[in-house]
Symmetry: C2
Subunit: 455 residues, 2 copies
């Protein structure tokens, strides 16, 4: 997309916001967070709410939005900054690129701050600046009230579905992510440790000059859902679960998981469970369409998994009844997916404001409490579909659960599947007019296709 097209899309976004929120608002981009000392900083990543309306990761900038008009506030870099960090875009230039209706240095922001709503950013220095300028204490982003809460609700309405610009950015991120997963598979035969496979995957993302959208999971211990250690040796007969996604230059995320056999081919038990998880994945995607309740996709995945596990003799009884009892959640303890956008769990800083339709709340049922999305799907939403099967000792060996589910599980049969500790299959899915479209469809998903990449 050329610059004037981008400026046009950005203008449409703020006009859409104005339909839902009439008051003034100020959104800050934020600053770098220090790592182990103030000058050693983590790479800067602008606040997603700011990025949505600006499209560029400008550190220490702010925008004033009202009635579809955007005023940009930032300072031009000084000479010292050029010495250490090179030339940075100048405010006037940026203002033209984003189609701003005005541009001022930061110290002018104060006179625009009266009664402005905002969303708190992640870094502390900017948060303090927000509070000083607005002369009030800000609540956490997931506990907003008053005009901030109204603004957040309006932003959710605008960010919930995607325009062609964000879809194409997520597609760019998805393309690099697919290359990263292929590199991970290709590196597996010679990998000594999980870290070797992670390195091969992230090198693809780095070589495209992109960053990871989240901390990679690359592990032979897939039963640890957010495993972030990478030291284990790669031994034959295990499954490698890789949940790795690139983030596009303008912040849009992809989020993809594949699971593959370290030996190059699935054992029959691994294959049996893989096929069940794949069936759950496929059936959700077939069903996904505008108007469909995402929670129903989650339950569909759960029932498909339960049916498969009954057919293998691992679960006993009727699949629907097992799901009502949450027996499936012993093996599938997370939700089937979430919103995807500028954040990998999009707008999760606002708690469940984006994920849950108005009036809905998290359910505390074991099988539903981790469901992050509970809304009817709409055209233009992008969600992940990511069913999984895990043998988590902390769940399966919990005495209370063991008693509760003793009649549902055939432990002897389950023991035969001990080489399947974690499988997850995850794609990024765009809801279209009549159904859905997989943005990450180019990445192999069938066992035979995956095995072919492991040679």
């Amino acid at each position: 997309m050329n610059r004037s097209e981008i400026a046009h899309v950005l203008k449409q976004r703020r006009e859409k916001l104005a339909l839902h929120f009439s008051g003034p608002s100020i959104l800050w981009s934020g600053n770098e967070s220090p790592r182990n000392f103030p000058a050693n900083k983590f790479p800067f990543r602008a606040s997603s709410h700011f990025l949505f309306f600006v499209g560029q990761s400008l550190p220490n900038a702010a925008i004033h939005l009202q009635a579809g008009k955007l005023i940009l506030f930032m300072d031009d870099a000084d000479e010292n900054d050029a010495l250490w960090h090179g030339s940075s875009p100048r405010r006037q230039e940026v203002a033209i690129q984003i189609g701003a209706e005005g541009e001022y240095p930061l110290n002018e922001l104060e006179q625009w701050s009266k009664e402005a709503a905002t969303i708190p950013v992640q870094d502390f220095i900017t948060q303090q600046h927000q509070e000083n300028l607005l002369q009030r204490q800000l609540n956490k982003a997931n506990e907003l009230y008053g005009c901030d809460h109204q603004l957040a609700k309006a932003i959710v309405k605008v960010r919930l579905t995607h325009d062609h610009c964000s879809i194409s950015s997520i597609q760019n991120a998805a393309e690099v992510t697919i290359q990263a997963h292929l590199a991970g598979m290709a590196a597996t035969p010679r990998a000594q440790t999980e870290a070797d496979i992670r390195a091969a995957m992230e090198a693809v993302i780095t070589s495209h000059d992109l960053t990871c959208a989240y901390n990679s999971i690359v592990t032979v211990q897939g039963d640890v859902l957010h495993n972030q250690s990478y030291h284990r040796p790669i031994k034959n007969g295990e499954l490698l679960l890789a949940d790795v996604g690139a983030e596009a230059k303008n912040g849009w995320a992809s989020d993809v998981t594949r699971t593959w056999p370290t030996s190059g081919s699935f054992s029959s038990t691994q294959r049996d469970i893989y096929d069940i998880v794949l069936a759950a994945h496929n059936t959700c995607i077939e069903k996904a369409a505008p108007g469909i309740e995402y929670k129903d996709l989650h339950l569909l995945a759960a029932i498909t998994l339960a049916k498969g596990l009954v057919s293998l003799g691992i679960l006993k009884g009727n699949a629907e009844t097992l799901v009502e009892q949450d027996a499936h959640a012993l093996f599938f303890p997370h939700g089937v997916g979430h919103l995807l956008g500028l954040d990998v769990h999009d707008m999760e800083d606002l708690g469940d404001l984006a994920g849950y339709a108005p009036g809905r709340q998290r359910c505390d049922r074991f099988g539903l409490s981790f469901l992050r999305l509970n809304r009817p799907l709409q055209k233009g939403m992008i969600v992940t579909i990511e069913p999984g099967f895990y043998q988590v000792p902390a769940l399966l060996e919990n005495p209370d659960r063991k008693t509760k589910y003793q009649d549902c599980i055939n432990w002897e049969t389950l023991a035969k599947f001990k080489d399947v500790n974690g499988i997850r299959i995850e794609n990024d899915v765009l809801i279209t007019d009549t159904g859905s479209s997989i943005l990450t469809a180019e990445l192999p998903i069938m066992p035979s296709e995956i095995e072919a990449c492991l040679q």
Copy 2:
């Protein structure tokens, strides 16, 4: 090193601290910092002051130190944590590993906090916890007062020189760093962009399951001292400057720079300047020894560079006089190096408390203001030696400087060296009994050696 040796070294460190600080102190490890939303966090890195005494990057832990005794405060993970993050070391286990004299859950810390000194950590949540518990506002770490200032001074005394455990950890980091640089050289002939070379280098660090000690600089625009963009194409005839260092598992850093020709061989102009920078590097390392003032090494590097530039006809006049006038700083605008340890600029969170000997302050002279270390060297210190030559437009085209230095520079001769925009050569150097030892000596530094790695 085995566990009991490590516990022994950790005990020696706290006993050494007790010689310089008799009061109680509490050091916190800190928590993860959020990236774009609270659940998407940057990888955890414990506070260096905590790490120094504990040797393990435990999130959300604290230690109470007094009279050489260490009490560990942390909570054991709950079941939910095991589901998402896997099993974590238990407090009792850790206490044995680090030779703690006691161990309690975090909520017991309050009764140990009376009159304890501390150093503020980097993340905001923990900083708030520190202030709440100590019931006082903490100043920034570079503006400490009272008992915190006394504690910081004592910690500087202990961390300023290294024991065999930290030396061996930095050596481990240095070994991986050397491999990373070799991989960067090897990747250069086929690299399309700076990002490709960065990816090859960081993949080595990632595959060793280590992290970068700081944001990598991998650029054909080496005149931007802390350049952190990686999008430029690799064209023949340029110089690639790579400042990349690994951090050991227990937090110890390495920090290494090499500069190499993208075409595979240095042009004669590139070679001429490279030889001068290398001479400055070598003469500093030959001279480095206990008792030598680090500032004198900086001036030695400056004079060596100035002499070389005079001999090439770029500078005019006497080298010593040119350095007194700061003319060298037009091309070498930073200090010749800094302390290296758990932080890549070690203890820089404390401002110049570690870098500058008591009573000394930064000088505001153009050629000295960026000098980060101004102390006599001591046996066991680890410092970087990193002279450089840069053509920074913001410096060379500044009208005031142009006037001031008009008689010192032969602009016509300088113009012949336009293919040399930035060269830096940096090694990690341990001060020994009688001189110094280069921890990163295995990495090629001679032009011919480097050219051999680029084939």
